[in-house]
């Protein structure tokens, strides 16, 4: 019986340690990213600290510049100018939410990792394509 109790205590200790790690780790994971407006408001306190920022890629702002890609992300009315080093991922395009990793560097956010944050939206591509077809061919 005492050995059972000892194992019971060990399990409780292990669980407590796991729980502690999780909530310590989740301090990070719960703020997995800051939204673009939060990043702008907290700019002073963030300094040059590394953090993740989320926003929707603004259409018409994406421009290749040597090894870097420049674009803007927007969220809740705030815009962040981004300079990303490296190649964006396959599904990167305007009007989609992205999560970036990097830090503030003067007037822009220097990113070195883009994660495309897709939603739970699974609508099929161009379901109205057939309807559009006649209008595009009748006009010469």
């Amino acid at each position: 019986m005492t050995s059972t109790r000892r194992v019971g205590v060990a399990i409780v200790v292990i669980l407590a340690a796991l729980g502690f790690l999780v909530f310590k780790g989740l301090g990070n994971a719960t703020v997995f990213f800051r939204t673009a407006d939060e990043a702008v408001h907290q700019k002073a306190s963030l300094g040059t600290r590394r953090f993740r920022v989320e926003g929707v890629v603004v259409d018409g702002t994406v421009a290749q510049q040597g090894n870097a890609v420049r674009f803007d992300i927007a969220n809740n009315g705030s815009t962040v100018h981004v300079v990303h080093q490296g190649d964006p991922p396959e599904l990167f395009k305007p009007n989609i939410p992205v999560v970036l990793e990097g830090r503030w560097a003067g007037d822009h956010y220097a990113s070195d990792r883009i994660m495309v944050k897709h939603t739970e939206d699974y609508r099929v591509e161009n379901p109205d394509r057939v309807k559009d077809y006649p209008t595009s061919t009748t006009t010469p």
Binding site: S3, T4, V7, G8, I11, I14, L15, L18, V22, G25, L26, N28, A29, T30, V31, F32, F33, E54, P88, P89, E90, L91, F92, I96, V99, R113, I114, M115, V116, K117, H118, T119, E120, D121, Y122, R123, V124, E125
Partner: protein, 243 residues
């Protein structure tokens, strides 16, 4: 105790296995034929597999918890065997959840892994149940071992709902559920049928695996009893020879 084989393969088990195999194959064929979606293109087809695998890991740990509770109430060793069998299959499904999710994430997010709440909790779930399986192998008398495992099985299951709701409670890279009992409206109709078929197929595969693993556990138990009886008989024979 007896020499009869415990839990022989019955026709319902064979039927279950056959149905699981056929429906899984159908899910794969139909899943690969799903139309591309606007956001994820062809990668949305992972919806036919990944959520179903994840569901089976939750289901497995739920079964383990229920069987653990049943063991604590009834003290019947068969509930303990079921709890162990289900947890073992659950660990396989959790590992598959991480693997399929990682491949999907690499294509759509651009990264294999991110420490967001959903992924962190799924990884935690895997290690918790690996720990549970290790605990089941710690030497002790069968009653103590089973009771200990039952308590662990009831505690570990608490992480399952946290993992499931992680995408609602915290900011995650992982998208929210597209299927919460009923499909969401952003889910294209063609996906609903294949997802449902996949859920059925994967659940049958899970059940079949648990039945097989449970049978093995029963056989092992029986073999252990037979071995013990043989050893006792041997010692008795020795006692007769020695004066």
């Amino acid at each position: 105790m007896s020499t009869t084989r415990a839990t022989p393969v019955t026709w319902p088990t064979r039927l279950l296995g056959g149905a699981a195999l056929i429906s899984l194959a159908t899910t794969v064929v139909l899943g690969l034929g799903l139309p591309p979606t606007t956001e994820q293109g062809v990668y949305a087809r992972f919806l036919a597999i990944h959520p179903q695998v994840a569901w089976c890991s939750y289901l497995a740990f739920g079964v383990t918890a229920l069987a653990s509770a049943a063991y604590l109430v009834r003290k019947d060793v068969r509930w303990d065997h079921l709890a162990g069998a289900s947890a073992e299959v659950g660990v396989v499904f959790t590992a598959l959840t991480l693997v399929t999710g990682s491949i999907w994430g690499r294509r759509t997010w651009g990264v294999w892994w991110a420490w967001d709440a959903r992924m962190t909790f799924t990884a935690l779930l895997l290690f918790l149940y690996l720990g549970y399986l290790a605990l089941r192998r710690v030497a002790a008398d069968p009653g103590t071992r089973a009771r200990r495992s039952a308590v662990a099985g009831l505690l570990a299951v608490l992480v399952v709902p946290v993992d499931h709701y992680a995408v609602e409670w915290w900011r995650t890279l992982h998208q929210k559920s597209s299927f919460n009992l009923t499909p969401k409206e952003q889910l294209d109709g063609s996906y609903i049928a294949v997802m449902l078929l996949g859920f059925g197929a994967m659940t049958m595969a899970f059940a079949w695996l648990v039945v097989q693993r449970y049978r093995l556990e029963r056989r092992r138990d029986e073999a252990g009893d037979a071995e013990l009886e043989a050893a006792i008989a041997e010692r008795r024979a020795e006692a007769v020879v020695a004066p």
